[in-house]
């Protein structure tokens, strides 16, 4: 398996551990990732809030550069915001020729041209459908039996493009989490919104949304995410939200490839778990016990 890889800006900065753990996990599973050369920003949620044409032109630059490389036709994207932005251009360039022409007028400035033949795939889609639970199980080295995991999908890997999961009641993460021996924490928060960039400009609103999610996760050992924005909102404000709510809402938040990587025998250093902002002592203790008992039974 070979994919072009678009990490996006967050994965080079605040979500560095998502980049490192994605590469490590995919390597372990025998999938090759080829980073798109000279990639630029997809526009995040900011381009769309300022200019429609810019919000399509920025992802189009990336896709046009990917088409030049031409050795794989699928792009793996771990960030849900990047995924939606790139997917939007994939969809629109197929259906609206006039719009594609307009985008190409812009791209000409950089001597780029978009044909629209790239297929955009979210990391979760590839883990759930291309690789699948059976292959993950076959590579299992250290089962995470006894851990109770709350799968958090957020919005933009599910909506508006519902490619690999139900946009209202997502379940695609469950088989891959169960494949490594963990249990699913029953909740209905998987597809809820974390507030995204409201955390900076309208914190009162976003803190409210995250509080609801953290409260519903009580009883789980960790929440597992597939988006850098969700990850940051869930992990970085726990103290403040606990204070607001008058209860301890601290919770371990891991990226999905970090969690799966642990079960496949990758080290915490391989997965850069030193960069996470919230890994609780209770989680570490339980993880140690799980790993020790797995060693005994081996």
């Amino acid at each position: 398996m070979r994919y072009l890889y678009y990490p996006g800006c967050s994965l080079k900065g605040t979500a560095l551990e998502y980049d490192v753990s994605t590469r490590a996990l995919m390597g372990e599973l025998g999938a090759e990732l080829v980073e798109i050369e000279d990639w630029t920003c997809c526009g995040a949620s900011a381009a769309e809030a300022t200019s429609y044409l810019l919000s399509l032109s920025l992802p189009a630059c990336i896709l046009a550069r990917a088409e030049k490389m031409d050795d794989a036709s699928q792009i793996l994207v771990p960030c849900s915001a990047c995924y939606t932005n790139l997917k939007k251009v994939e969809e629109k360039s197929r259906s609206y020729i006039e719009l594609l022409n307009k985008i190409n007028t812009v791209l000409q400035e950089e001597n780029l041209h978009l044909q629209g033949k790239m297929k955009i795939r979210h990391l979760l889609d590839i883990l759930a459908r291309d690789i699948g639970p059976a292959k993950i199980f076959a590579n299992l080295k250290s089962p995470l039996t006894g851990l109770n995991i709350a799968p958090y999908y957020g919005c933009q890997c599910l909506r508006p493009y519902s490619v690999f999961d139900d946009p209202e009641e997502p379940r695609s993460m469950e088989p891959v989490i169960e494949a490594v021996g963990a249990k699913i924490h029953p909740w209905d928060m998987g597809g809820r919104c974390c507030g995204a960039s409201h955390m900076t400009t309208k914190p009162d609103v976003a803190l409210e949304l995250v509080a609801t999610i953290l409260k519903a996760a009580k009883g789980a050992d960790a929440i597992v995410t597939v988006c850098p924005m969700c990850q940051m909102n869930l992990e970085a404000y726990q103290k403040k939200i606990s204070g607001m709510s008058g209860e301890d809402l601290s919770m371990t938040i891991l990226y999905l490839p970090q969690f799966l990587g642990l079960a496949l025998g990758l080290s915490e250093q391989d997965l850069r778990m030193d960069l996470n902002l919230s890994i609780t002592k209770a989680f570490r203790d339980k993880l140690n016990r799980t790993q020790i008992s797995a060693d005994i039974h081996r």
Binding site: C9, T14, C41, E48, C61, E109, E168, C193, S197, H198
Partner: protein, 193 residues
Amino acid sequence: MNRLEKIESEQESETALAPVIDSLAPIRNMVSACIQCGTCTGSCPNAFAMDLTPRQLWYNVIREEKETIFHSKTFSLCSVCYYCTLRCPRGLPLTDAMSALKQIAAKENLAPYKKSVRFYKSFMESVRRHGRVREMEFMTLYFMAMKNPLLPFRFAPLGVKLISKGKVSVELPSKGSGTLEAIFRKVEELENS
């Protein structure tokens, strides 16, 4: 005047909504088949904080009540979760309509949306300069644009944590290589023609 000075000094227009009327027409078309059922409101995670519910907003868009629309916080509270778009029984592109309203607020620098407009523009300025966003630069530009000396302190604890983990590099705003300059300029040219 460079673009940063422009983000800072652009006069927010309180009342000058005249040019908005034309740009409202395409948004009106997006929602003209609205049956006012309120599914969008019931699905919106941020409705609790809005002055107009999404349903009421569409009602005002259809009637072109620009004073009401652009004095309401509603569209700026959309966090682009796409629940309303998913569930709308008429299949209307409601999230796109919210974004189109944000684009007008950004273009016209409308005063009630100063915070989000300056936030988005600071982000885009950093992308325009370097091709990728530099988080430290983007937040610095935002603080400078907001001219509120207390604002950075709210972000300081998290900022220090991210810097100490090496997740954000300490880089002052700089001119950059202008990697995407030509793309940005062409978009502006096409949009203003």
